[in-house]
Point group: C2
Chain length 353, copies 2
């Protein structure tokens, strides 16, 4: 992991690294060396990113299924999207009930720029979507450890076919070949969907009639009520929700002018506006977005300039998306602690003296 | 320079490093470790970026002139701009006449994100612009070597006061404190103006009635006709021009589908559209912009998807800005070789077989 900046990250384990809240500031784009890492399964050998153009992905459920290399994909088309990449469990630590899994706070998220070919272009080149398909199913290139049941371990996820036009098969992140830790040589990018749906080292993309039967789809990443085990009767963790959090000030400081900053995202929709409260949500003021708008799936940094007198402040932010969905104070809990977006716990307490 | 990626750069000297054309691709943002470097004078000691918040800048020509630290500036306001940073001499190698100075081709340019406080906010905090001022004059923090006349060496530039509202006093580049090589701890950012006007390690910002008398303003960076020496009778090198160049394919390759890519910028204006020609400008086709629009001062990557039969191609691109200014085939020459933007020489020749 020597390409990561140690000072910017909280290390939960060698497969779970979180970006510190203090490094986000008003950055529209998260630097590679500060971006969180979360792997479900041990990644494949580093050797697969030595010659990215040689990596093969099998395209199935199309008129003329076949394997194509990344080199082939680069001749077919090119598109770029700025997107919030966020772990499904980001903010899990803020749920009141006990959860297993990494206790992420704000930092299992980043906004990055992906470049690749639209999956729609690839599918059209290969004869179009086969009749009856209802899902796009991506399979990761992880090795299945011996002695384990493949479907219990394999990273294979299905997303609804109606997002096909948004999906990229991406080879670059932030302008450089995607590092192995982030899914290189090729990652299936599903803008607006949580991290797990963005399949790393993708080796197969299939238009399928049914969702995959893999455990990671069938049982894990389900929004099950408290006390219930995940199963297909509960919704999959797919689209992200409207959300925002404060990135500064984070420490007790002196009275006077302050720039209260944060990040706001719409998830599957664009973010429309964000408000800030200094008194834990009793009164709100509109914050201003800072810098360029990188599109529907990106986050937007925001600021409220404020003169702060000595005192104690509970600073919180509340975003609303373009569909009118607003961050709740406390979200409905789900057993595994996915999609946390409550404005109450995402705030900060600072003492000004 | 160990924070730079050697493989991405052409080293002209230790103060002049150029980004290779092959690394640009369709990147909306240029990574720090690939960004060109050009210093007029040896930079100050690295120690000045150890505690960026302590750096002081003197604000003059305002109602209440005083020195402020970067720490102070951070309490006053925050804004972010994506901007093409381009050396005045970028493309000098393409002029037909002999020029002294670095023979830059396409790579003394990058698109980066700056964060800082609007200079307007600082000026208003200090009592507003003093009557009679017509320029914003910034002074760099370089040490003047002993025995030299300060005004011959000092990096001090004046820009018209009417761009005051665009100027940032910036402390971050691409989300991290500005490295010394790029002007940290504080740089005066003048969006749409060539590199030299963006004063590094800025130690003084003054609203002045006249342009500075420094050699770098009076004689250097002037658009003098061929055979003439720079002087105040000729225009200063200030605003950038509309421009584009091809970033791929750069090498001979196989017949079939190709993604012809490039970058287009409007300079002081936004870029409106870009066309591509495969036959050296005889016939043109509209290219498509790729990825998010980062605003007026950013560049936009573009692509034309094309099936190429065996043959030899002179691939060129021609951008037009929102004011209707179009890249010329060959620009009017100027003695020192500034502001090259001719579409003819900026193209590439490739053989497809």
């Amino acid at each position: 992991m020597n390409f990561k900046d140690d000072g910017s990250l909280i290390v939960h384990s060698n497969n779970t690294l979180e970006t510190k809240r203090s490094v986000f500031g008003v950055q529209p784009i998260t630097a590679d060396n500060q971006l969180y890492i979360r792997n479900n399964v041990t990644p494949p050998s580093e050797s697969i990113v030595e010659n990215p153009d040689a990596w093969e992905v099998s395209i199935e459920g199309v008129g003329k299924p076949r394997s194509v290399t990344v080199g082939d994909l680069k001749t077919m088309g090119v598109e770029t999207v700025a997107m919030v990449l966020q772990c499904s469990g980001n903010g899990r630590a803020f749920f009141k009930h006990e959860t297993s899994g990494t206790q992420w706070r704000t930092g299992a998220a980043g906004c990055v720029i992906w470049t690749g070919v639209p999956l729609r272009t690839v599918v059209e080149n290969l004869g179009g979507v086969k009749g009856g398909a209802q899902f796009v199913t991506g399979t990761g290139g992880e090795k299945i450890p011996e002695g384990l049941n493949a479907s219990d371990v394999i990273v294979e996820r299905s997303v609804p076919l109606d997002v096909l036009d948004n999906i990229l098969l991406a080879w670059d992140m932030n302008g450089a070949p995607i590092p192995l830790a982030h899914g290189g040589p090729l990652r299936m990018i599903v803008p607006g969907f949580t991290g797990v749906n963005n399949i790393k080292y993708v080796k197969r993309v299939a238009m399928t009639e049914a969702e995959t039967d893999a455990l990671i789809q069938r049982q894990r990443y389900r929004l099950a009520p408290l006390g219930k085990k995940g199963s297909p009767e509960y919704p999959s963790v797919w689209q992200m929700e409207v959300k925002s959090w404060i990135t500064g000030p984070l420490e007790d400081s002196a009275a006077g002018m302050h720039q209260i900053t944060g990040l706001a995202m719409g998830g599957i929709n664009a973010v429309d506006n964000v408000e800030v409260s200094l008194d834990g949500g009793k009164t709100w003021e509109a914050a201003q977005f800072v810098g360029p708008d990188l599109g529907r799936y990106a986050w937007r940094p925001f600021v409220l300039s404020k003169k702060l007198a000595p005192g104690t402040y509970n600073i919180v932010s509340r975003a609303t998306d373009t569909e009118g969905n607003q961050q709740p104070e406390v979200p409905e809990p789900n057993q595994s602690g996915y999609n946390y977006n409550g404005w109450g716990a995402l705030g900060v307490d600072v003492k000004i003296s």
